[in-house]
């Protein structure tokens, strides 16, 4: 990939809404991405390989559970800092951001919120430092948008739980040391279990041939009579609300992350439009190209405001699941539209790995699908405003 010349757009001086510490955290993540991600990411995406060597660096910039309290190895930062870190990482690549989101919101968050003190002490500091990596198993082959139908289940065998079933499309699964697995007990209630690599009957085959999130490892979780110690059940919350609480946290991070991908596409297209000459002029001087750029920066600015406001609401513990859903849907859709327009602006160059746009565009096809598809989020807002359920 050519040199990373990224300059972040801030059309409405939204930096004024951030604290000095927010900016310090964001700028550190931004510099780190420039130094550690941009030079290697194209190669890893082409090879369809997760760059394992960056885990330590991700931990150092606070990408793993930045809002987890310091006593558990986190940084005790607020929600806006978390969002900004996700934005910067996804500016580099959605796949790397996915790894950080999963670790923070889908693994550390449930242990912190639904786990007991022993579980927190045992896992959180090591997850924060990247010594342990985790994954989150909710989706199943036959239950994607409708996770409440899941068939993965466990039976109380006195000394342990016996877990059976399979999960699909699980980010980080191929290398994760632990998995937060959502499964039904004998009465059909959903609980979270911490399953560790090495437990007998637990395997994690990798999913190959993806055209999206190629630098992120995706796999299955297969449980064939796995004996899970009883102390590995997350005791403080059960029911579908438990995994959905994790999704709220992750979707919030994605709402910020998508802005990062969009900013990178816009910035690339803007620079290219001033340098590329056709018909004796920079292509940026043509109205049709300006329309694209004008719409991009407008949509980015709106998305930034949405994310910032949602961050304030989350800091005040007032953000509803429906509000988070709206931001995830809007911002990912915005990023995808921008990626497609930006790709066209680069002409043939837009399809090469010389520029990041096509990679972002393909990545965003996963981002618009996971953590609730675009359509499912429309139904969430629809239900919220009408009170009428259109899911079934």
């Amino acid at each position: 990939m050519s040199q990373d010349l990224f300059q972040a757009p801030d059309y409405y001086q939204l930096d004024d809404l951030l604290t000095d510490e927010h900016k310090l955290v964001r700028d550190a993540a931004r510099e780190w991405v420039k130094r550690e991600i941009s030079p290697i990411i194209e190669d890893y995406a082409q090879k369809a390989e997760f760059p394992n060597q960056i885990i330590k660096g991700l931990a150092e910039i606070g990408a793993f559970g930045p809002y987890i309290p310091e006593e558990y190895g986190g940084a005790g930062l607020d929600q806006i800092s978390y969002g900004l870190i996700m934005q910067e990482i996804e500016r580099g690549d959605s796949g790397i951001r996915s790894t950080a989101s999963v670790q923070s919101s889908l693994v550390m968050y449930p242990i912190w919120k639904y786990g007991n003190e022993d579980q927190r002490q045992k896992y959180l500091p090591k997850l924060a430092s990247g010594e342990l990596m985790g994954c989150f198993g909710l989706t199943e082959p036959d239950y994607g948008s409708n996770p409440s139908g899941m068939v993965t289940n466990f039976k109380d065998k006195g000394d342990y739980y016996l877990l059976n079933g399979a999960k699909m499309w699980i980010s980080n699964a191929p290398f994760a040391d632990i998995a937060i697995v959502w499964a039904k007990d004998e009465s059909g209630r959903i609980h979270g279990l911490i399953v560790e690599r090495g437990m007998e009957g637990f395997t994690t085959p990798e999913t190959h041939n993806k055209w999206s999130l190629r630098a992120s490892a995706t796999g299955e979780l297969i449980f064939d009579n796995v004996k899970v110690p009883k102390e590995n059940l997350l005791p403080k919350k059960s029911g579908l609300g438990a995994p959905l609480g994790c999704l709220d946290s992750a979707r919030y991070g994605i709402a910020w992350g998508a802005i990062g991908a969009a900013m990178d596409c816009y910035d690339t297209a803007l620079r290219y439009s001033k340098e590329r000459l056709q018909f004796g002029k920079p292509i940026g001087a043509f109205q049709l190209q300006q329309k694209k750029l004008a719409e991009m920066i407008t949509e980015i600015t709106k998305a930034q405001l949405l994310a910032w406001r949602l961050g304030v609401l989350r800091n005040e513990d007032k953000a509803t699941s429906a509000q988070i859903s709206m931001a995830k849907r809007n911002n990912v859709d915005m990023a995808l539209t921008i990626a497609r327009d930006a790709r066209q602006m680069l002409g043939g160059m837009g399809i090469t790995g010389e520029y990041s746009i096509m990679r972002h565009m393909m990545n965003l096809e996963s981002v618009v699908t996971y953590e609730g598809t675009h359509d499912i989020h429309l139904l969430i807002t629809g239900l919220d405003v009408t009170g009428l359920n259109a899911f079934k």
């Binding site: 930096d15 000095d20 510490e21 955290v25 550190a28 910039i61 606070g62 930045p66 940084a75």
Partner: protein
């Protein structure tokens, strides 16, 4: 060893430059500020002395409260404490005078500054500071070792390098080479968290009237169009240089 690193707070190199107040002041609206890159090289070297030789590192800036994030970043990178002299940095001599007071009060052995700041590129502060304090001074420094009271310093000279031995107390005007770009540090989360608790003290300036005043800033003229003249047509070239460009 007590090290003082002088940190200047400058616009990022990609900033759009504009002026206000009838072109007498830099317009900071929407501008991102960073640690002066030359200062970042010497700060990184100071971290090395801290880690390898147990030096203490204080960072100082002459400027108003809006400069504090830059000092906070230096603390996050690893400096032990920060001092801000609460005054507008009007010119190089004024800044050097204020820094000299900080050095005297803090009893520093080694003062590291960047060779120049990339905002006004005056390049005067380190030399003036050494002059006021009557300390040894090496400018354009690209290598620095300290052993007890003696320093071995490499500086860039026209077409080469010069290696010198000198004594502390010493003022250095440093640049790339004292460390390399790859050595520059990005603050990590631990550092940012620790920086919250490190002291950042604000001291009032010594009274001293600035001796210069900025009257007006002008931007360089935009590059004009290029005229290409055929190599066989020297007459036309001379004609244009004489009558149009009026340079010969």
């Amino acid at each position: 060893m007590k090290i003082l690193v002088c940190i200047s707070h400058v616009p990022d190199t990609t900033s759009k430059i504009n002026f206000t107040d009838e072109n007498s002041k830099f317009d900071t609206n929407g501008v991102q500020f960073v640690i002066n890159p030359y200062d970042e090289f010497v700060l990184t070297r100071a971290m090395w002395f801290k880690e390898k030789q147990g030096a203490s590192v204080t960072v100082v800036n002459v400027g108003n409260a809006t400069n504090e994030p830059t000092l906070r970043k230096a603390l996050a990178i690893g400096a032990d404490e920060a001092i801000r002299v609460n005054a507008d940095a009007t010119d190089g001599y004024f800044v050097a005078k204020q820094l000299a007071e900080v050095v005297k009060n803090g009893d520093f052995d080694l003062i590291l500054a960047g060779r120049e700041s990339i905002d006004y590129n005056g390049g005067m502060v380190p030399g003036m500071l050494a002059g006021i304090l009557d300390f040894n001074f090496v400018n354009a420094c690209i290598g620095l070792e300290v052993d007890g009271n003696t320093a071995t310093v490499i500086r860039e000279i026209d077409g080469g390098k010069e290696t010198l031995n000198t004594n502390l107390p010493l003022v250095i005007g440093g640049q790339k080479g004292i460390v390399e770009e790859k050595d520059l540090r990005i603050p990590n989360m631990r550092g940012i968290m620790m920086a919250r608790k490190k002291p950042l003290s604000v001291v009032e300036p010594v009274s001293f009237d600035a001796t210069t005043q900025s009257i007006k800033f002008e931007k360089p003229e935009a590059k004009g169009a290029v005229k290409l003249i055929d190599a066989n047509n020297v007459g036309e070239l001379i004609n244009l240089l004489h009558n149009e460009a009026k340079v010969i």
